[in-house]
Structures are given as C-alpha cells and as structure tokens.
Amino acid sequence: MTDATPTATGRRPFALRHPSVIVVVAALALFTCVVTLLSEAYGTGAISTSFVKTLGKTLCLCLAALAMDLVWGYCGILSLGHMAFFGLGGYAIGMWLMYARTHLIVVGSLSGQALPATPEEIRDGIAAQIFGVVGGADFPAIWSVAHSLPLQLAAVVLVPGLLALVFGWLAFRSRVTGVYLSILTQAMTLALSLYLFQNDSGLRGNNGLSGLQNLPGTSQPQSVTSMWFFWASALALGLGYVLCAWIVSGKFGSVIRAVRDDETRVRFLGYPVEGFKLFVFTLTAVICGIAGALYYPQAGIINPAEMAPIASIYLAVWVAIGGRGRLYGAVIGAAVVALLSTWFTGGQAPDLPLGIYTVRWIDWWTVFLGLGFVLITLYAPDGLGGLVDRIVRVRRSDRDGAELSSGPGARAIRKAGR
C-alpha cells in the first residue's frame, strides 16, 4: 500500500494514487451520458425505458456487489445475508412510495364527495387499499411513519444498519467465523424472509409492496422518472466506489485485510477485531440498504422472495466471478452476470439448435451459470477482475485486496486455523 510507504509516494492526492478510482468514475460518467443521450426522455430514444430501468437496476446491484466485496473480499466475512439488507432498504422506501401514492389516489377519489374528507376517512381509505389483500384494514405499527419521506429515508439506512449491528455484535462477540458465520448469516436471511412471508408481518405477506415505479408528487412519465432513478443509481455507485476505495486505501484497509488473513494475530497487535468487523459489516449493510432503496423503485415491486437466502449467495457469486479483493472486479462481475442473466432468462437469447436437442436458454442458463461458476472458482480464482489486471497491467499496489485464493493469504489462514 503506497501511502504507508515512507518512500517516494508521500503526499500525492488520493485519486492520483488510485487510478482505478478515476477510471471507474470516468467510465461511469461516460456510461451515464451515453444512456442519457440515447434515452427516450432526454435523447434519441434508441434505448427503451424498460432497458433504462434494467441498466439502473444493474448499477444498484453493482453497488451491492461493491459492499459485498468490502465485507468478503477485504474483510473475509462471507456474508450470505447482504441481499436481505438490500431488501430491507427496498421495503423501507417502498412503504413511503406505496403510502404516498395510495394517499394521492384516496384523496382523489374522496374529493368527488359532497363533504370535504376527514383525516380519519383518508387514513382508513389508505389502509383498506393497502391491506385489503391480506384481509386487514388497520395500519400495523411499523407503518406509523410511512407518511414521512425523511423518516422512511432514515429507515433505509437505520433498519439494515441496526439489524447488521445487532446481528454482527452477537455473531462476532461469540467468535463465530468462517463457514459457521456464513451459515448463521444465511439462517438470519431465511428467518427474515420467512417472517416477511407471513400476512401478519404488516408488510403484505407474499404480495409484497407494489406500484413502486410511480413517484408520487410528479406528473412526469415513466420515461423521465426512470432516468432520474438511473442518475441517482449512477451517482450512488460512483460515491460508493470512492468511499470504498478510500476506506480500503488507508490503514483501515490494511487492518481489515490483516483480519481476513490472520484474525488472531491482529488481535495480539491490540486491534479490537470485533469492532473492525462490526464496522465493516454494518457499513456494508447500510450501503446495501441504499442500493436496495434505489433498486426497487425501478423494479416496481418487492416481495419476500427477493430476500431468500439464494439471492445473497448470488451476490457472492457475482463478486467471485468479478474477482474478489478488487473493487472494480465486484462492479464488473455484478454488471456482467446480472445483464447476461437478464438477457438469457428474459427469453431474448436465441435458442441453440444442436440437431437432436435444442438448447433453450431459459432452461439451461442456470445450469451453465452454476458450472461456469465452479470453473471460475477452480481455474480463474481472480475472476474477470484478474483478466483486467492482466490486460492493463495495473501496478500491484493498486489492487491491494489481494487474492485469498492464490497462495499466501490462504496459507496464512490455514496457519491461523491450526
């Protein structure tokens, strides 16, 4: 890591010391401009609104992958629960979107009446609209601040953050590590999604929240609002990237990588390892929450199935395919796999006739993804990011979240285990 070295590289600005930050941010800006100029709302219309949404959602997934890379690739915690935080962020913003939109609809329908509507009538009307599907007519307690955008925005950060804080504190203080920890996070995710599947969870059970693509308070068409969300996603990804790069560039990055490689040793150096893990776990949960809050308005609907444990495992798969321990690797992995998955499972990919058997991608994509992932783990542990490294020949000081897989780190872990 260059900035800790007493030699040459002392005082240069952060961005200059980390060219990958400049490259990624520039690429992101360029991409955003191109999409804007080709969009229906602000450009030629070469890119359909639904594809803008797909791209925007992909950016959010990249942000989640970034968080995953920080917590797994750098800190060594293979969390199988970060998509749950993603979903919680989505639920938090979804509650406001659904409430505000239903509020407008109810006020509209009541305004035709002879008498001005009372607050009670409006509230009952909204409750009936939202909870009719689960046979309820009253607001559950967790909806008590759904009318307030600032409070729900705070919830986007606080709910995943607090959950991660409490769970992480419990898990780390009892020194649960490695595979055990992964399984525990998976159990947490399963518990959460099962809870949300219940009708009396207060979040509409398996119906989830819907109609989130409509932004209350604006009469702009979808083509325009989807661009707004696209920009917001791009901005969030850019800021997230810079933040993560800044975190891992300094001594903090050095400590968490050390935690990943040999936790016990770091403890004997006097660092409160649990505090560092908890910090990273909570921070990445918050980032995932924000990513989710941007994702679901573009998806339009959120339901508990989105938070099933498998979603979080996929997140880990993206990061692994992209190449752990490199922030750009996570971004590349998430973007490539998510877009390819959309393409192959969306039915756009042409079938592959093989004479006796026609490969239908909808059926076979998952099979190839699974096997391909195994091959990457076995033969290209650096993932796509490793490919980039080879092409660009980045100086090694820049991809400092080095590969756990290929040698020294792994050996260190082995030793730590003994």
Binding site: W72, V179, A187, M188, A191, W364, L369, G370
Partner: protein
C-alpha cells in the same frame, strides 16, 4: 274381470281360516290403525309405543317390516298384512300372526303404510328395545353401537330396562357406560346428570368429550352493571380479544340497550342527504373536514329531527362502560354445565399430557428426518471442514432415483428394496465425482468450497427441472406402510414415520460400527482429529476424504428416498431441508455423531414445540426456530458437543 273375481273369493276366504277371531296382534294393529295410516310424526308416538309395549311376539317383526314399507292395510276392513310388491299392481301377502301365505292379490284394495324418515327413526328407536333383548349377542352389540352413533332421548329408558337382563359382562359394561353417557345428555333430573358427568372424571375418550362439550356451550349476554348469576362461564371485557369493541356494541344495539352506532359512512351519508344551500345543520359544508365538526352537525340534525339518534364512534366507549358482558351457559342448567366444565378441565390436563406425547412422537420423527439429512453433512464438515451446499441436491438425487426405480419395478415394496441401495450408489458416485473434480482442488479454502458447491447445487437443481419438469413426482410407499400406529384417540404415529425413525436408527448403528470397528473408521477419526498426524502415520488423507465425502453423499441419497416417501419429489426438495440440516450440524457440533443426533433432536423438537405453541403459523415457527439457534450459538459457539483444548484448534 275374471281374475278379480278370483281374488275377491280368495280374500273373502281369509277370515274364515282364523276361526277363533283375529289374532291379538291384528287386534292391536287395527286399534291403532287410524294413527298408523295417518303416518304423521307428531301423532304416531302412541301407536309405536303400544306395539313396542305389547309384549306380543310378532310386534318386533311388524315394526321391522313397517320400517321396510312392507306393511299393508286393507282399505275396506282395516285388516293388516305383510306384503311384497310383485309388480305394479299385484301384491303377495302374508298373514301377520301365522306367517301363512295369502297369495297374490291386486294392489287396489290395499294401502301401503309409508313411514316417513321421522317415523322410521321412531320405529328404529322402538326396535332397539327388541334388539337389546335379542338372544344373539351380535345383534345386541350392534344395537349398542347404533345407540352410540345416534343417541336419542328415548334410548335411555329402553337401555335402562334392558340392562338388568344383559348377562354378557362385556356388553353389560358397555351398556352401562352408554347409559351414563345418555344420562349426561338426557337424564331427567339435574342431580342424576351431574352424577353421571362426574362418573367420567379422567376419561379422555372422544365420546365423553363429544357428550360433555355441547353442555358447556355459552352465549354472550349483556346486563347493566356487573354481570351476576350462577350460569356465568366468564366475564368478558369489551375491547379484549374475545370481544372486540364493535361486536360488544352491536350486541347492545341488538338487545335494544343502546342506539344505533353511527358509522363514519352513515354519518357522512346522513349529512350529505341534508345539505341545503351549502349548509348542513347550521354548518358550512366546507367546515366538515373533521370528524368532530361532523359529529356536531349530526347532533344538530338529530335535534331538528331530520336524522335518527345515533352514537358516534367516539362515544361508544362511554356507553360500553355502563354494561357488563358475560358468557353464560345456555345448553344445560348451570349445575350440569359447571360439572361438565369441571370434568372437561380435568380432562384437558390429561389431554395436554397426551398431546405432549403425540408432539414428542412428531418431534421424534422430524428429528429422525433431520438426522438422516444432516449426518452426511456433519461427516464431511467434521472430517474435511467442507460445507457441501449441494447436499440438498444429493437428497433430491436419491429421491429421483427411487422415483425412477418405481417406474421400472412395479411392486412398491420391492422397488423400495432396490431403490435404497441404488440411491446410495448413485449419490455415492456423485459425491466421489464432486470430491475428485472440485473439492480436492479447493482444500483449505472452505469459503470457496462453499460457493463452488453452491454452483453445483444450482446447476443440479435446474438440470432436474429440465429433465423431470417442475411438477411434483409421487413416491408411493408399499401398502403395509399406510396407516398409523394408534395408541389412543390423541396419540398416533404413521407407519412411514416409524419406518424413517427405524432407518435413522439403523444408520446410527451402522455408522457407529463403521467408525468404531473398521479400518476406514479408524482412519477417518484420525484425519478428523489431526490431518497432519494422520498423514504422518501413513494414512492417505486423499483417499479418506474421497470415501468420506462419498459416504456422506450416499447417506444423503438414502435420506432422499425417506423424505420422498413422506413428502413429494421435486427439484427443490433439497432446499427445504438444507438449512435445517445446516442448523442441525451447527447446533450439534462437528466431528461427533452424537452431536449430530442431539442437534437433530433439538432442532426437530424445537420446531414441533414452536409449531404447537403457535399452531396457526408454520412460517412463524421456522422464524422463531432460526432466531433461537442464532441465540444458541451465543451460548455454545461450537455446538452441543464441542471439542476442547488442542483438538478444537485443529
């Protein structure tokens, strides 16, 4: 015409044969003839009673054939005879008293006695008297059963009459019990009924509960002030879960104790209907944007007389406070109901114990399934430190193997015999292949192994979907595994679950033998405790790892067959068990089969226990269980059976 003449002659000859006047039964019938012919449920009683009480030997047969619609009455003379329709208008008649064949006659002059369903019921009740004193014990037993099935008030007296004559002890005690049951319901005095009820203390049979439960039926009643009376089952408070405020108030309105509730919509409608020039009840329409303003305007309307007096939502509580609500016994006099309640409460405690036993059986069978599903996982994790995410898919593979076998081998028992070893073989091979091709290259990188096996898992799952489709495939158990082992009305366990339990025990035993008494087991234990030392003494860890992984996968295949018999075979069935299997391993601790057993038991019993505590919601049960396990890890991070000291750090 000629034929008719003959018939007339024959009939005319009839009475001549009974030379010493009509038989007593004929006399009796003709006495009651009018009532019998009228065939009305309300008036028929005395006629049936007269027949039943006559003591005449033919009475029973008359009742039976009457019930069968084979009793005929000659319109002219009122004479009765048994008859069978030969064709549409010809009857073959038999004299009642003597059984003499009268011959075929035209149906014209004879009227069929047509008892309706109600009368047939009365006849049946009357017949019970005869059946109960029938010389054939089988008939008497059948009669008792008939009473058990459909007890009637009339049975009580009959039964009491018949019991002293019963000489078979079994039937007698059955009859006496039945008599007490009938007394509970139909006894004429309160004391008699209470005594009968109390005689059933501690008897948990379904029939006792069926007799007692209706007695304690209650109805909600309302009174001003505090509810009083000895028939109160319990006092309920409005706004509690048992009595929501709105229901309480509706009761008041129904009883005429309070004016109609003014719902928001009714209030609005009334106000809208009275809008005049933008004003309602002295208020401007634009002002009516709050419920308080609307209430005030409505009061004005009531004062004007243009709206009905009603109580707005906000004042309901004040009115409810003036009344007391209680559930009162309505199905029986208070002492009877209280006695029944007392006995039922006593039963509840016993039933609770039995349900607990039933629950324990459920928990046991769930635990055995988790044990089968988790043991393979625990072995691979213990020996190799590897979590196999595709374990669930091996379970699925085993189940599909059994399904395919069943399509080839038609006999369900034999197909099972073939399927078990074949499933083991298939998944063993798959496990060895996975170990050779993937896991071997990822040793000491446990997190990557976890992810790589996840890749295998999704590929296998989708592959199964492509090959077998998404619909569930049945796996049928042999006939002798159908049904349940029933201990009593509450405690029962199906044979399939017993079979799975036995399978789990067999595997536990096999496993123990394998580990303790074979070379392989010795080597596996050596590798588990210290891979380096094992290598140093000449054990080939590669071979051990491969065999261990194959073994773990093979057991998963067997578990798949077991689970397939009990649930259904789908491409996602593995996923349903994998998390619980992980939990079992985590809770139990690694490297020790007893840990797995304890873990499975804990997880299985816990899940059933939570389901029992909150039966309405299986999803919630799983949530709570997982939360519990997360907290459990806080107390015992290394599971129930934890290795300590130097071994723990290996």
């Amino acid at each position: 015409m000629f034929r008719r003449l003959i018939l007339a002659l024959v009939i005319a000859a009839g009475p001549l044969t009974a030379q010493d006047g009509p038989a007593p039964i004929q006399e009796l019938l003709q006495e009651q003839g009018a009532l019998i012919a009228e065939s009305s449920r309300r008036t028929i009683g005395p006629a049936i009673d007269a027949l039943a009480a006559s003591g005449l030997p033919e009475a029973r047969q008359v009742l039976e054939r009457w019930q069968e619609r084979e009793l005929y009455r000659e319109e002219e003379t009122g004479r009765f005879a048994f008859g069978v329709e030969v064709d549409r208008d010809t009857l073959r008649l038999v004299e009642i008293a003597t059984g003499r064949d009268i011959g075929e006659v035209s149906g014209d002059g004879w009227e069929e006695m047509r008892p309706n369903a109600g009368i047939r019921g009365l006849i049946a009740a009357a017949l019970v008297r005869f059946q109960l004193s029938d010389p054939d014990p089988a008939t008497r037993r059948e009669a008792l059963r008939a009473i058990e099935r459909g007890p009637e008030e009339s049975h009580l007296a009959v039964l009491r009459d018949a019991l002293p004559q019963e000489n078979l002890p079994a039937l007698r005690s059955q009859g006496e019990r039945l008599e007490r049951l009938l007394t509970v319901r139909f006894g004429s005095t309160v004391e008699e009924r209470v005594a009968a009820i109390e005689s059933f203390a501690g008897d948990t049979s379904v029939d006792v509960r069926a007799a007692l439960n209706p007695l304690v039926a209650t109805r909600l009643s309302v009174s001003e002030g505090v509810p009083e009376g000895d028939d109160i089952a319990r006092v309920v408070r409005p706004g509690s879960e048992a009595l929501p405020r709105t229901s309480a108030y509706e009761l008041l309105v129904d009883e005429g104790l309070a004016p109609m509730r003014l719902t928001r919509s009714a209030k609005r409608d009334a106000l809208v209907a009275n809008i005049e020039n933008g004003f309602v009840g002295g208020y401007r329409v634009a002002e009516l944007g709050t419920e308080d303003a609307r209430n005030a305007a409505y009061r004005e309307l009531v004062a004007e007389g243009s709206a009905e007096s009603a109580i707005p939502e906000e004042e309901i509580d004040r009115i409810l406070d003036r009344f007391g609500f209680a559930e009162r016994y309505v199905a029986s006099p208070a002492p009877v109901a209280l006695a029944a309640k007392r006995i039922l409460d006593g039963l509840d405690a016993r039933l609770g114990m039995m349900r607990l036993a039933d629950l324990a059986l459920d928990g046991l069978s769930l635990a055995s399934i988790y044990f089968l599903a988790a043991i393979g996982l625990a072995v691979t994790f213990g020996v190799m430190g590897v979590i196999n995410m595709a374990h669930g898919e091996f379970i699925m593979m085993g189940a599909y193997t059994a399904y395919l076998v069943q399509r080839v081998v038609a006999d369900y028992a034999w197909s099972l015999v073939v399927a078990l070893p074949l499933a083991f073989a298939v998944t063993f091979a798959a496990g060895v292949a996975l170990e050779r091709l993937v896991i071997r290259h990822l040793y000491h990188r446990p997190l990557e192994t976890l992810l790589a096996t996840f890749g295998i898992s999704i590929a296998l799952q989708q592959l199964a979907k492509n090959v077998f489709g998404t619909q569930a495939r049945p796996l049928t158990a042999p006939g002798w595994l159908d049904g349940s082992l029933v201990f009593n009305d509450v405690v029962a366990i199906s044979y399939i679950r017993i079979a799975i339990l036995v399978l789990a025990l067999v595997f536990l035993a096999l496993f123990l033998v394998l580990m303790k008494h074979t070379r392989l087991g010795l080597e596996v234990r050596a590798v588990t405790q210290s891979p380096r030392m094992a290598g140093a003494v000449g054990i080939n860890p590669d071979r051990i790892n491969m065999l261990t992984f194959g073994l773990g996968s093979g057991i998963a295949g067997i578990a798949g067959v077991a689970i397939g018999l009990y649930a259904q075979v789908t491409s996602e069935m593995g996923q349903a068990y994998i998390v619980q299997s992980f939990m079992t391993v985590v809770v139990g601790g690694v490297g020790n089969i007893w840990g797995t057993l304890l873990g499975a038991t804990l997880v299985g019993f816990l899940q059933k226990g939570i389901e029992w505590a909150n039966p309405s919601n299986t999803l919630a049960a799983q949530t709570w269980m997982i939360l519990f396990i997360i907290l459990f890890i806080q107390v015992r991070p290394r599971g129930i059976v934890a290795l300590r000291g130097r071994a723990a750090e290996a």
